[in-house]
């Protein structure tokens, strides 16, 4: 690509002619980003303060709304009795297993659909219907079929993301430049060569961004599953806490979930970063 090269040259030339401007630009850039980060933190801190103060002044009922200090003390309780590790661990494990299975099943299925146009045309309406179905509606069925427990929850996690994932991977595979496929054929290759030499490597960005969606959806599915069919896990804590009016438990679990979701997403983001760097 020529254009980015030119842009680089441009900065370089202005760099040598006007030594001050580049420095100014860098400084401004950093200042701007510091400001963004500080404002982000500020919003969070203000929110915590308002929440805490409102609780102490009894503007809100801490029985229903809890408060930052109550969340923190409950969190330490969870650490002490070890329940934090059991519940977070099980939710994390179920999410990761669902995620890995979603990725594997979707890759294999999308590959088969790409390989056989007939197969993809036959299955297309089924995929569309299953994808637009609200998957939480299936959860009660899974309980009847599979009982309560980890297996059901993993299946619930898979069901939320699998169809969308197949569709988006297949669409990604299909969008490969047909001329690049022609190149493989002119070099004496077959459709399998075309897939492994061109389609798959060209689709890695699609696969990675699809994984980012899947990890979030797997977590959604696992929590739905835990609401209905678990004795352990954060989803179970949330539903149990709300039933016995221990809102500290509910809110603390939600906050732990937030952190898990962020961590998982960052993990995939990091993989993407590694891939781009390697490239």
């Amino acid at each position: 690509m020529n254009i980015p090269e030119k842009t680089v040259d441009h900065t370089r030339s202005s760099d040598t002619s006007k030594p001050g401007t580049q420095e100014q630009y860098v400084r401004k850039h950093h200042q701007y980003h510091h400001m963004i980060t500080s404002l982000r933190l500020l919003i969070f801190v203000i929110f915590l303060i308002i929440w805490e103060v409102a609780g102490r002044l009894e503007l809100i009922d801490t029985f229903f709304f809890s408060s930052p200090s109550m969340v923190i003390s409950y969190f330490f309780e969870m650490l002490e009795d070890g329940s934090f590790f059991t519940h977070t661990g099980i939710t994390l494990l179920e999410t990761l297993i669902s995620f890995i299975l979603i990725t594997l099943i979707a890759m294999v299925t999308a590959t088969l659909l790409w390989y056989s146009k007939t197969l993809s045309e036959i299955l297309e309406p089924y995929l569309v219907v299953l994808n637009s179905l609200p998957k939480s509606a299936l959860a009660p069925l899974f309980i009847v079929w599979l009982g309560t427990g980890t297996r059901t929850i993993i299946v619930a996690g898979i069901s939320v993301a699998i169809f969308g994932s197949i569709i988006s991977l297949y669409t990604g595979f299909k969008s490969t430049d047909p001329e690049k496929l022609k190149l493989i054929y002119t070099l004496g290759g077959n459709r399998l060569n075309a897939f492994f030499k061109v389609v798959l490597p060209a689709s890695i960005p699609t696969v990675l961004s699809n994984m980012k969606v899947n990890i979030g959806l797997a977590l959604v599915g696992v929590i739905i599953g835990e609401f209905l069919a678990a004795r352990r896990g954060l989803g179970y804590l949330i539903i149990y806490g709300s039933q016995v009016f221990r809102l500290n438990m509910v809110i603390t679990s939600i906050i732990i979930l937030c952190i898990i979701a962020m961590g998982l997403y960052q993990g995939i983001q990091y993989m993407e970063h590694l891939y781009k760097k390697k490239k």
């Binding site: 430049d177 690049k180 022609k182 002119t186 070099l187 004496g188 290759g189 061109v198 490239k279």
Partner: protein, 257 residues
Amino acid sequence: MKQPILECRNISFSYHSLKCETKALNHISFQVHQGEFIAIVGPSGCGKSTLLSIIAGLLKPEEGEIVLDHANDMRIGYMLQQDHLLEWRSIWKNVLLGPEITKTLSPEKEALAERLLKDYGLYRFKDKKPGELSGGMKQRAALIRTMVMEPALLLLDEPFSALDYQTRLMVSADIGSIIRKSGITAVLITHDLAEAISLADRILVMTKRPATIKEEIPVHLTVAENSPLAARSAPEFNNLFTFLWKEISDEYSGENS
């Protein structure tokens, strides 16, 4: 007369849709001999690329046949309109794509690739990614990727059309002389008449769809130096150009009336 290396016998081809049948090629016949450089020109959309795909065996003709000399082991190289180097592979990995696919990767092939890269001034870029090379260099790398397969016949499908004018002149001269030197038989498709005259020994003019071969023009240029750039200053160049231009614009005017 020697046996031709490639013979198109009565080739016809149509594209089908539910609404209609579009006849692209209509009884095309011609021969190409060992070491010849043939250019095929014609109005755009006349089915030139279809013809090339048929010769390469990517499409089956509806009628007629392609006869290749010692048909079994004659390899055909194909150069596409764009370089289509795979941007996630190094130049080295790109030029070895063919042997890798056909599972013919050997130390001899690697040595050949190395020699070709050295000959064409790309050896020191062999570990670079295509994105770091200029358009002309990429097109040269694409040619090497084809040459590594040691084709007896090279098909060129407007291989310079994606380049800007200046690069295009340079690269077509460059690649033209590489092909000349290696003695490969070549069939070039182009809509650039000057390019056809400067590179080819013989020019086939196609009509608009359904395409037939309208004219076969031998090119004999009196130039001191056998290079595509020098060819453009040959005394015969202008006449040939005007003649070809008229032949092709006749096709367009027929379309408008």
